[in-house]
């Protein structure tokens, strides 16, 4: 089975847009976080698609890096969310606006 690259890239674009919209409109920090993961994985999908079509290894390497960075990000992000929840009793991102100018 040979899916054309353009289809995969289109799927990636759709996923990325969904993730971006999720980050922008959802106030729940966990959901926003998951949306970010969605955007990252959309980018991974695009990398893989082009790597396969161009028969190059560097796309794969990038994906590994992104997965590693996303894992680290999850660790830091979840710790932050836990701390915010402890102080504000809520995970609504709009509640965390102390740095307002």
């Amino acid at each position: 089975m040979n899916v054309p690259t353009s289809y995969v890239v289109a799927l990636s674009a759709i996923l990325f847009t969904l993730g971006a919209i999720g980050v922008l409109i959802r106030r729940n920090a966990i959901i926003a976080f998951m949306s970010v993961e969605l955007m990252l994985n959309a980018a991974n999908l695009a990398f893989i698609a082009y790597a396969r079509s161009l028969q190059q290894l560097s796309g794969h390497i990038f994906v590994f890096f992104i997965i590693a960075v996303a894992a680290a990000e999850v660790a830091v992000g979840l710790a932050l969310i836990v701390t915010i929840f402890k102080t504000k009793n809520s995970i609504d991102v709009d509640q965390a606006s102390s740095l307002k100018g």
Binding site: L24, I25, R27, A32, A96, S97, S98, L99, G101
Partner: protein, 694 residues
Amino acid sequence: MHFSEAAVEGWFALVPLIIAFPVAGLLVNLALGRRLGERFTGFAASAAVALAFGVAVLQALALQQHPEGARIVVADWIAMGALSVPWAIKVDTLSATMMLMVTGVSTLIHLYAAGYMHDDVRFQGDPGRYTRFFIFFNLFVAAMMILITGDSFLTLFVGWEGVGLCSYLLIGFWYEKGKDGIGNAVAGKKAFVANRIGDFGFLIAMFLTFGAFGSLTFDTVFEHAEAAGPQAGLVITLITLFLLLGAAGKSAQLPLFVWLPDAMAGPTPVSALIHAATMVTAGVYMITRTHVLFHLAPISSSVVAIVGAATAFFAATIAVGQYDIKKVLAYSTISQLGFMVAAVGMGAYVAGMFHLVTHAFFKALLFLGSGSVILGIEHGHHRATHGHGDAHGGHFDPQDMRNMGGMASRMKVTFAVYLMGALALAGIPPLAGFFSKDEILLAAQGGNLLVYALLTAAAFLTAFYMGRQVLLVFFGRARSQAAAQAVENPPLIVVPLVALAGLSMLGGALNLPGVHTLGTWLGHTLGEEHAPEFSLLVAGISTALALAAIVLAWSLYGRRPLVENQPDPLEARLGGLFVALHRKWWVDEFYDWLIVRRYVRLANVLAHQVDTIFWHNWFHDSVLAAGFRRGTRWLAEAFDMPVIDGASAALARLVQRAGGGLRRVQSGYVRNYAVYILAGVVLMLSFFLVRSLS
């Protein structure tokens, strides 16, 4: 003595040392004198001058073989347009004579001062000034050497001013003492101002010289003056008359002599060295040095002779009426300087220089002797009042001859040498003064009879006042407790006196009639001078008059010696005339009325009208201060507030407003930031897209 040619030539090159040694002495004392004490200070200062004397002796020996002398250029001093004055030293028989006399007498007086000042600083109550005294003394010798050795008017003038400064400093040495606590300072100021009038004359003479002959170097000026011929007669006459004014200031001649008697406020060694033996003869030396010009200006020469003779007579009359032992000697000095000036005015330069040298010997001796007497009396006063609670106070004047009397038995050596000096000054043969004075009288007798008459009368008065002084001081009975308990001084003070007494006795041998050693010696510089033959008539008259004067003095003061509180017998004989003599012919009062009081009034008017009202009240307050205030107010209101302040305030407002605007962007909502990021990414991507398409 005979030395190899090359060695002798080299000795001329050593002459700068004659200035360098005293300067070194004063620097050493300046740096170390206070730390190393009186003995060191006195020794260093005396040694410096003694070394200078050694240099002078070398110069004299070198001149024996090279009488034409030498010119040693020390440094290139002034070179400006047509004016070129190197600092050159002139060694010739004239300057060498002065070098020998000044350094020789200075050495003796330095030694004497080392002893005298030891006591003086203690009587005056400030031993710390001992070092300062010798620094000034060495500075004086250095300045005097510059004066003597200078080979141009300007280098001579540097020394001329230098000795004037030292004179001022040393007259006011005890500046907080004297009448009303400022008497000595006032005396110093008076000397300085009177000298300044003379210096004004000297300066004008220099300007005229440079204007007329384009040079200030003696030899060049003389050559040009001689070559200029008769049409330069007027300018040369003017130059020489202004030079005479300079000489009158420095050598205390009429009408500028008034400072010298007051200068006796200085310590006695100062009176001896500066105000009797050396500095005051600078005027005579200067006229002798410029004899070529005076030779070309016969009018000036006769004015010089008459000024000198008038001064000699005038000052001698005043000396008769003084009670202060040093004042008598001061007026005597003025009188003897008058003799010298009269001599050089008549063209008898050798006689003038001869009298200058012998006078230095016996007048230094007399001043130092009077210092010895004063010190003895002060010691006696100290002993007499010791234990009475009245240590140094009271109104006792140790210089008043009425407080003395009978000192001969208590100060034997001082008496002997003083008598020698007095007889030499009176012109008793065969002492030094006889020969030198006789030569001047001889020249006058062959020249100007008015001058001769004045000088002979002055010589008579000289013998009289010296007889009066010796009889008042040394004979009779003590007229005060202090005099009764006076003691002789230690050897350091007495030995220089004995040396000077020897010179006063034998100084006449320098230029004996018929031999003319000094005349031949100076002839190398001054040109051959026909010395008038020794005249038994002139010598006989002057000697007879001198003896008569001494007999007259004895009949007044010797037969029945003065007792305590008795008025001067001369006062009864002369009446009002004596008062006039005692009050110095009211010259000081006259000058005070003629010049000082008018000057003070003018100064007051200027101070009030011009300075206070015009400059201070009007110009300063109304113009400067008010104008400044107005100007600054305008600047503050029209420029500082709107422009400078406005600019900075506007800048601040701009930043504030920009910050206020940007503040709203910072909402604190994470989602807003995410929108900005997204918008930025979209913008960037669309930019690249548009660029790749076009």
